[in-house]
């Protein structure tokens, strides 16, 4: 049952006015007045075209915008939409807005959306990023349709990306969630996704919403919940991803929000993921991945330098996290010249698994463990850039696939570490 105390009286009144709905579209915002309008248009068009008979609501959860974002959302007229695509919804498409706080917080925004979805008994819910200038009505419909029509529980997006964009995703988050949970969800940390009312309620009641966790993004944990609870999961292609504030984050913060959350989620899901032995593809609408290969100017030298300096300076910290064999290999690697430097897949996977096991055993402050992984990620990124410098999209795809297989092959090593046998 939703914790109504987190919802303001005014917001509950708005929800009562709306009544029960079939579809809920959540739009978490913070000072997005300049970019939110195309996303709202796409949402309106997607609902009117695809779900004209369903009761639907657009819910804006705002984190204290001072540029009038909620007004832009509430003021986006649906009449112009009707005229432009010649369609009409047979029900009222409601739009409501609430301020969950004066500072942006993904956790607070999602909690508000989940609580509202539970109170309104929404069957299918989706969260749309307000910065998604490229999202189309078809994309919104593709996120909702598998939930509403085909009874899936979770829909993850797939984006068209540059081959060097999302290296943390392709070299750690995707391969590791795939190896552990046995399902090939390419974007486990998404800002646009859809879920069933059932999964939403489950997550709302189970997730830690306390103050301590308010600065952590819960999206990756929602994906893990869907994967570990045996929910029906699928993916849908949404086109080119628009640049978001979340992507512009500092690397350490990005690691905390993703790797930290993933490592932390492994504790409670051990019985499930330890039993999985192989991965399966998930149903996907559209291409499984699409990569562009335009040339980019990236300072690779600095990545290598920061890796080497990190491994040398953090020796005392890494000693507590890594096995002596892995640490000595990394130290050898730190001494290598740029031409000789190759952070090969096996060493990377072993390092990541040893970090995950140390995080589980809390050998030191867990936040420090995640921070200590940053220099190693830089080394791996250097190798990934070098190996795929001239590679085509298909070749990059193959390289990512072989890394995923390496994660799967070495999973028993993680289990041994986890159980303290190593």
């Amino acid at each position: 049952m939703a914790d109504e105390s987190i919802l303001s009286d005014d917001f509950i009144r708005q929800l009562i006015d709306v009544g029960e709905v079939d579809i809920l579209v959540g739009v978490p915002t913070h000072n997005d007045a300049k970019t939110v309008e195309p996303a709202i248009r796409a949402i309106q068009e997607g609902i009117v075209k695809t779900f004209p008979r369903e009761r639907a609501v657009i819910l804006n959860a705002d984190g204290g915008s001072n540029d009038g974002t909620p007004d832009v959302i509430m003021g986006a007229s649906i009449d112009e939409q009707h005229r432009s695509f010649n369609g009409y919804t047979l029900r009222t498409l409601h739009a409501i807005s609430t301020r969950y706080g004066n500072n942006p917080s993904s956790a607070a925004a999602l909690r508000t959306i989940l609580a509202a979805a539970e109170l309104l008994r929404a069957k299918a819910c989706t969260v749309i990023c307000p910065e998604s200038a490229n999202i189309e009505a078809e994309g919104v419909a593709n996120l909702l349709r598998p939930i509403y029509c085909d009874h899936f529980d979770f829909v993850a997006p797939i984006y068209r990306r540059h081959k060097f964009e999302g290296v943390l995703l392709t070299n750690l988050l995707y391969p590791m969630t795939r190896a552990l949970f046995g399902q090939r969800v390419r974007e486990p940390y998404a800002s646009e996704f859809a879920f069933s009312g059932r999964l939403g309620s489950q997550f709302l009641n189970r997730h830690q919403w306390s103050e301590e966790f308010k600065d952590y993004d819960p999206e990756l944990e929602l994906t893990v919940t869907a994967l570990s609870d045996g929910c029906r999961v699928c993916q849908t292609f949404l086109g080119t991803r628009s640049p978001t504030k979340r992507q512009a984050r500092d690397l350490v913060d990005a690691m905390r929000q993703t790797v930290g959350v993933l490592f932390s989620a492994l504790d409670g899901t051990f019985p499930m993921w330890s039993a999985k032995t192989a991965s399966q593809p998930v149903p996907t609408k559209g291409p499984e991945f699409e990569l562009s290969v335009d040339p980019l100017r990236i300072n690779r030298k600095q990545l290598k330098e920061m890796f080497s300096a990190g491994v040398i300076e953090l020796e005392s910290v890494l000693k507590s996290i890594l096995s002596s064999g892995t640490l000595s290999e990394l130290q050898q690697l730190a001494k290598a010249d740029e031409d000789q430097f190759r952070f090969h897949a096996e060493l990377w996977v072993k390092s990541v698994y040893e970090f995950a096991a140390s995080y589980h055993k809390a050998v030191m402050s867990r936040d420090h463990i995640v921070q200590a992984l940053v220099p190693l990620y830089r080394g791996r990124m250097f190798t990934f850039l070098v190996e795929n410098r001239t590679a085509s999209a298909a070749e990059v795809g193959n390289n990512i696939e072989s890394l995923c297989l390496e994660f799967e092959r070495l999973k028993p090593y993680l289990l041994e570490l986890w159980n303290g046998r190593k």
Binding site: E165, V167, L169, T258, E313, S316, V363, Q371, A372, V374
Partner: protein, 234 residues
């Protein structure tokens, strides 16, 4: 004359024997207390050692950085050290109790002072332990933040953070123990001021070139990023 000498000697001997007869039971009681105290202290040590081993106290101390200090000083493991320390405190407590049974005037005051001092000693040890834990935590946090921000000399920054916190903790411990209060506070003030002054001078004069290079690097890097692409990790 002879009778007087013999009488005096007999009286003195009788007094000695009387005093000894008075003291003997107390001495026996004291020895019993000391022996029983030793037994109790021994049992406490064994129980405490087991509890600390079960609670993985050595690992906690390792994380706090206390183990490294002990290893450098060729001392036993933290579990062993704490167990032995508690054993000696408990046994000395019983010895003091035994001595107080003897009823020797001057010693009574010292015994009382010892028992009044015990709680302060425990508080001081707690401050020391948690102080080392905090120093180790912040030293590591500074090291990680400096490495990830690509600052020059991250280890120096980390050691500086640890040193400042340890000096502060030692001053608190000394104050708690009541050891040369004013001297320690003064020493802390001088040491802290010296570190700050040293850092200012090092950065301003000694590290002029380094500071210049650092600022140039920062500035140039910012300019470089305008030309270079930075693909998002997510």
């Amino acid at each position: 004359m002879r009778d007087i000498i013999v009488g005096e000697l007999t009286q003195a001997a009788q007094e000695i024997f009387r005093d000894f007869a008075h003291l003997l039971p107390r001495l026996i009681v004291m020895l019993v207390i000391v022996f029983v105290g030793w037994l109790i202290a021994y049992v406490i040590r064994a129980i405490l050692r087991s509890i600390l081993q079960f609670a993985k106290f050595d690992r906690l101390s390792e994380r706090a950085g206390a183990s490294q200090l002990l290893t450098h000083a060729a001392l036993p493991t933290p579990t062993e050290l704490v167990s032995r320390f508690v054993f000696w405190i408990a046994w000395i407590g019983f010895i003091m109790l035994g001595i107080s049974v003897l009823g020797i005037g001057g010693l009574q005051e010292h015994v009382e002072r010892f028992f009044f001092f015990l709680p302060r000693l425990f508080v001081a040890l707690l401050i020391l332990f948690f102080g080392l834990l905090i120093a180790s935590f912040f030293a590591r946090a500074v090291l990680l933040a400096s490495v990830n921000a690509n600052f020059p000399s991250p280890r120096l920054l980390s050691i500086s953070a640890r040193t400042i916190i340890i000096i502060f903790v030692l001053s608190m411990v000394s104050e708690e123990l009541g050891v040369a209060d004013q001297t320690v506070i003064l020493a802390f003030g001088i040491a802290f001021g010296a570190v700050m002054l040293g850092l200012s001078i090092a950065f301003g004069i000694g590290g002029k070139d380094l500071a210049q290079q650092f600022l140039e690097n920062r500035f140039l890097r910012e300019r470089r990023t305008e030309k270079e692409d930075e693909p998002s990790p997510l």
